[in-house]
Amino acid sequence: MTVAASETTASLLPASPLAPAVIKAAPLALLLVVAYGVIPFIGDSYLFEAILLPFLALSLAGVGLNLLTGYAGQVSLGSAAFMAVGAFAAYNFHLRVEGLPLAVAILLGGVSAAAIGLIFGLPSLRLRGFYLAVSTLAAQFFVQWVLTKFSWFSNQSASGVIDAPPLTLFGLTFEGGAGRYLFALVVVTVLTFLAARLVQSETGRNFIAVRDNETAARIIGIPVLRTKLLAFALSSFIIGVAGALWAFAYLRTVEPAGFNLDRSFQILFIVIIGGLASLRGAFFGAALIVVFPLILSRLGSLLLGDVFDSGVLDMTQRIVLGALIILFLILEPDGLVALWDRLRRRLQPGSRPA
């Protein structure tokens, strides 16, 4: 892993024992200060509603899928289904349990997603690779069917669409774009931190072991089946919470159709383009997936808007997006994270070539 390699190189440099830790932590600290302390005050509603909120929700989903696909090596095409479970379960817990704090409802939504993820992870005990990937589609279609079929899940709303409850956390209500952004940011920060702890723990190590060599893992006594199922459950938990964010903080409404196969692919894209087995990668990938089409469409309509109608422009964008994905896979298969690390090393005059 390029990530590990570069960080190792850095730590091998002769330096005072304290310095590397500080240098490593500084960008993250800076990022958090900006995210919490600056952006909420200077951002406009477009930045929150159209960019940062979808970015945060998708990043979190990417973090979740990365646990499963990047770390534990199990490909899933059903992520959107777990988002849907998370969103609808959180909605129902909040609706039906009097006085349940929203945070707990969202947590329970995640737990429900984990339970469903566990069930649909069972085929992983017998199937591999594309067989497993395709079998996760069962989750995708089944969950969508259940949620549309039984109106109970959408509180008998004739239209099947549910409205988000107000966002509250520890008695505080988060309103408006900036408020919902902060709410999502808190959730994403906490879960990402926990995910980071997880991948550094023995369990995280077992994930990678199962991914890299299942037979060897089994023989040295790693509980392979339990590890795989745990990966499915934990990944679905995080994706479920991401679904709740998507519904409650971003769109403020949710319908099962919003969690379709395209969304699942989108999350897979995020993980692969960002960089497998890298939590940072999920954020890079989500940023690209959210921002890039916007920039493309802006540039397109700016440069060619007078010549073509919006349909032609959008089809061109579709083609460009597809081409970029392929180019990316060819030129930087390790994802944006690898690109970023390379760039950073080049920008650091002090560091030696790796």
Partner: protein, 298 residues
């Protein structure tokens, strides 16, 4: 079960089997690519759309049927070769998931290009086969479905003959067995890959026309791949026979389930039922329909 309506059952069963043939048609395109390059080619649906759209647009512009078919086929071959050159070759030796993602990107490009080229309008496609039912001993059978089944059979026969008796076919089988060995004995892998993509293009064209005649030629055509995927899980990604038998099994069981079980849960279960059938089958018989190699070596 005294008053069980057997003729109705037969009708559902026959209808299901014939629908299954349509699924197999799409699945075969996947198998061809998977066998030689180990890629689950998600762009197969987009290819299907592209082929049907090109064909129907040419016919609407006044080209005779046969000529339009040939021109479209030529276009599909070109696309196949181009994909091999620009996408697959640079990605040789990359993990399969990367290749899979690349085919997703590819489907964006092909869908975009198809609509850019021919517009987003919905077209009707008339292959000149009347689709009125005819009555076989009280059971209605669709002419069109029979025609589709016959076409599928013909295509499979042609493909098998081609792969059995031609040089490319020999190479194809060698590559499918062992790409490294094939490389070692001097087969030109890129040429074979390109041929296979061309063959997949042909399959996409035939499937596109038959499905297009059913659904109309429109964007949703690319969604028929979702019907083919459970067939692949059941029959195996690398077996044409598996794709055919799997298609029949899935087609028949999902129709019977929708009619006889659908009522119990409220209907509309076809979307996921096929996947559950495929999974349940694999749990009982992990080797799949046509059990391939079982032993994993350590």
């Amino acid at each position: 079960m005294a008053d069980f309506d057997w003729s109705f059952f037969t009708e559902v069963l026959v209808g299901g089997l014939l629908s299954g043939v349509m699924y197999s048609l799409v699945a075969i395109g996947f198998v061809l690519i998977y066998k030689t390059s180990g890629v689950l080619n998600f762009a197969q649906g987009a290819l299907l759309l592209f082929a049907a759209l090109t064909f129907v647009s040419l016919v609407e512009r006044g080209l005779p049927f046969a000529l339009a078919f040939l021109v479209t086929f030529a276009a599909m071959v070109l696309i196949g070769v181009a994909i091999e050159r620009t996408v697959l070759r640079p990605l040789t030796n990359k993990p399969p998931i990367t290749l899979f993602m690349a085919t997703l990107g590819l489907s964006y490009i092909i869908e975009g290009a198809a609509q850019l080229l021919w517009g987003t309008q919905v077209h009707g496609l008339d292959l000149g086969i009347e689709d009125l039912p005819f009555d076989v001993a009280g059971v209605f059978v669709s002419q069109f479905d029979l025609f589709a089944a016959a076409t599928a059979a013909l295509m499979v026969a042609l493909l098998s003959a081609f792969f059995r008796y031609s040089r490319i076919g020999l190479g194809f089988r060698a590559v499918a067995d062992d790409p490294f060995a094939a490389l070692a004995i001097g087969l030109r892998l890129p040429f074979i890959w390109a041929s296979v993509w061309a063959a997949a293009g042909l399959v996409a064209l035939v499937a596109g026309l038959l499905w297009g005649a059913r659904l109309g030629v429109q964007f949703s055509l690319s969604l028929v791949v979702l019907k083919a995927l459970p067939v692949l899980v059941l029959g195996g990604f690398d077996s044409i026979l598996g794709a055919i038998v799997g298609g029949l099994l899935i087609g028949a069981s999902e129709k019977l389930a929708e009619v006889y079980l659908g009522d119990l849960v409220g209907g509309g279960i076809e979307g996921w039922f096929a996947y559950v059938v495929a999974l349940a089958f694999l749990l009982i018989r992990p080797a799949g329909l046509f059990g391939q190699k079982l032993v994993e070596r350590v």
